[in-house]
């Protein structure tokens, strides 16, 4: 199989965690983008076609849930995986009701992250393919040709 790199955006204010994590993802062949705050994340999302966002719930300033809300309003197809610490599982559930794909407990096992990320990416690809097919049908009908 040909490896198609996923565009992953990691959003967390803990710089050490972000760096370690991005190195491992890059080692897997993914394309990693980094934001240390919710605001930065939204800026990057505007400019780059991100596939999956890995988003820490607890951040100073705009917190994870607010960021998630904004992401889902502005980029509804982008999949979001939430990172939670101990004691914030409830928030994770709330996040998933708001449209997040799944959540991960920190410190997360890298294998877990990889699987969930791939599933999130797959769901986004499938959704995009459905959108594309709907559009093709519309355009083909417009052309009236066979």
């Amino acid at each position: 199989m040909i490896k198609i790199p996923a565009r992953v955006l990691i959003v967390d204010d803990e710089k050490d965690f972000v760096e370690m994590f991005s190195l491992r993802l890059e080692g897997q062949g993914e394309k990693v983008f980094i934001a240390y705050s919710g605001k930065d994340a939204l800026k990057i999302l505007e400019n780059v076609a991100i596939d999956v966002v890995i988003l820490d719930i607890r951040m100073p300033g705009m917190d994870g849930i607010d960021t998630l809300r904004q992401i889902k309003i502005l980029h509804p197809i982008v999949e979001v995986i939430l990172l939670t610490g101990h004691g914030s599982t409830e928030t994770a559930v709330e996040g998933m009701k708001l449209g997040a794909f799944d959540y991960l407990m920190k410190p997360a096992d890298f294998k877990d992250i990889k699987v969930k990320m791939e599933n999130a990416r797959k769901r986004k690809d499938e959704q995009e393919e459905r959108i594309r097919q709907a559009e093709v049908r519309f355009l083909l009908r417009r052309s009236g040709d066979v």
Partner: protein, 526 residues
């Protein structure tokens, strides 16, 4: 806003039809009389009419010119009445430079339909059904004549080709072809794109162009994504635009390359009785397809120079040996092709041998009826194509086409085939962007075939020209299915397609003219 509602658009279209209907009708001054063997009518109306051109009448029909145009006697109605009074049952009076009431009713219908086709207040399929309805309601023809073209042999032939495409796709042969070509293509962007686009482009001559384009993109896209080629870059535009353009160009290579070719051949046969066989079409058109396909890719390359830093990864998927299903499918379709190619020998129509192939596909369990039912574009094939043919034929038998042919003829009189060819080519290539190919053919061919006959040009040239020129639907995303499929991946903007289309259309039309002037001359067509 109220003027954006479909109801308003519909009313506007009908209003235009009413206006056309109320416009004064040109009676003309010349009338063609057929079946007046004893020249009885001629002698009886000599007070009001003179025969043109003067001299001996050689054929069974002659043309009368009114001596006092505008008078009550200078009408077709008067001639008709006179023939009835004289008990000349066989005599038929036709308009030459005037518009018959029937033709005028047809033009009113046409005005409404063209507006409905372009602004689309109701679905295209319903508009296409309305063609039959209007023709009967406005008494242009009877019920049978209006509906029969919806099941014209060419409509069935198109369905066969679409069903073949479904079976090729289901058996996995389209995929195998895509993989086969992509493996030969290597990993340099330029070489890769040229090989896959030209390979699939030429294949489009014998398969559905949209299917060829779709499989090309589906196999190419993972490689592009893996290589990190971003949407909206020149490299992405080059790769994603080369494929649909090549497949459109290749589609003209044989009769089944696209509905446009079959429809042109069908109209030619309906209006003149001349048939272009499957084999002849390949002989005439294949060289043009082989030339224009690489040229189209080259034009896209010149407009959107790819970045050579990208290297595509090795394509490592393998499909294994051919399955029995694939072999069965290929055998059946190959046999149908053999029947089509040898029509000159056995004389059985393509639609019949084609449907025999479809029956075999179901019999040998390549396809289930469900597959056909769910995947065939019934609306387009049956209604839009059938309706287009009904419209084109009505244009002929209502007399409207002859009226326009006589009207436009002075423009091209004495100028030879080239002017007609260029006119048809340019008009065809432009109109097909905004309308279905069949509509373009239905509007253009009925008018230009009589013009060609008046000028002494072989009408085959024009039918071929239209079928081939309408392949160049390169200005709009909705121009043809390959464009639409490629655009749906959003690797280029619709204006990117228009930009390269503006360069490609005139160049490719020129190539077409050169092929006609050289190759068709050698074959003796012109």
């Amino acid at each position: 806003m109220f003027y954006k509602t479909n109801g308003f658009k519909l009313c506007a279209a009908l209003l235009v039809g009413v206006i056309v209907f109320l416009l004064p009708r040109p009676e003309g001054t010349q009338f063609k009389i057929t079946g007046d063997e004893g020249k009885i009518l001629m002698q009886n109306v000599s007070e009001h009419f003179a025969v043109v051109p003067e001299g001996e009448i050689k054929t069974e029909s002659y043309i009368l010119k009114a001596k006092a145009p505008g008078s009550l006697e200078a009408t077709a109605k008067f001639l008709d009445q006179k023939a009835k009074d004289l008990n000349l049952d066989k005599v038929r009076v036709d308009y030459v430079d005037g518009l018959s009431p029937k033709a005028k009713r047809f033009l009113a219908i046409l005005a409404v339909l063209v507006i409905l086709f372009v602004i689309e207040p109701i679905p295209l399929e319903i508009t296409a059904i309305c063609i039959g309805v209007f023709l009967v309601v406005m008494q242009v023809t009877d019920v049978k004549n209006a509906w029969a073209p919806y099941m014209h042999p060419v409509v069935i032939f198109i369905m066969c080709c679409l069903i073949f495409a479904i079976s090729l796709d289901k058996a996995g042969i389209t995929k195998r072809l895509g993989y086969y070509i992509i493996k030969k293509a290597g990993n340099s962007i330029t070489r890769f794109t040229f090989i896959i686009a030209i390979g699939l482009g030429i294949s489009s001559s014998f398969m559905h162009d949209a299917a060829a384009c779709a499989i090309g993109i589906v196999t190419m896209l993972p490689l592009m994504r893996a290589a990190g080629i971003e949407p909206h870059t020149n490299t992405a535009k080059f790769m994603m635009l080369s494929l649909p353009f090549a497949c459109s160009c290749g589609g003209m290579g044989s009769l089944i390359g696209g509905g446009r070719c079959m429809v042109s051949a069908a109209f030619l046969k309906e209006f003149t009785g001349i048939e272009i066989t499957f084999f002849e079409w390949i002989m005439y058109a294949m060289p043009a397809a082989i030339l224009t396909t690489p040229i189209a890719v080259l034009i896209v390359y010149m407009v959107y120079r790819p970045n050579l830093k990208y290297k595509l990864p090795e394509f490592d998927e393998d499909l294994g040996p051919m399955t029995i299903l694939e072999k069965k499918t290929l055998a059946i379709i190959g046999l149908s092709f053999a029947f089509w190619l040898t029509k000159g020998l056995h004389g059985i129509d393509y639609s019949v041998t084609g449907m025999l192939g479809v029956a075999a596909l179901v019999l040998f369990k390549v396809l289930k009826w469900r597959d056909i039912n769910d995947n065939l574009e019934w609306g387009t094939a049956l209604f839009i194509f059938g309706g287009g043919i009904s419209l084109g034929l009505a244009m002929g038998y209502s007399g409207a086409a002859d009226y326009f042919a006589n009207l436009f003829f002075p423009l091209i009189q004495g100028k030879g085939w080239l002017v007609l060819f260029i006119g048809v080519g340019v008009f065809g290539a432009l109109v097909t962007n905004a309308m279905a190919n069949v509509a373009a053919a239905a509007l253009i061919l009925p008018i230009v075939i009589p013009m060609a006959q008046l000028e002494g040009v072989n009408p085959v040239v024009l039918a071929l020209c239209l079928g081939m020129a309408t392949s160049f639907a390169m200005l709009l995303v909705i121009g043809c299915p390959p464009n639409a499929i490629s655009y749906s991946y959003r690797y280029f903007k619709s204006s990117d397609l228009t930009r390269v289309g503006l360069v490609a259309t005139p160049i490719l039309l020129t190539v077409l003219v050169v092929v006609a002037a050289v190759w068709w001359k050698i074959l003796g067509l012109i």
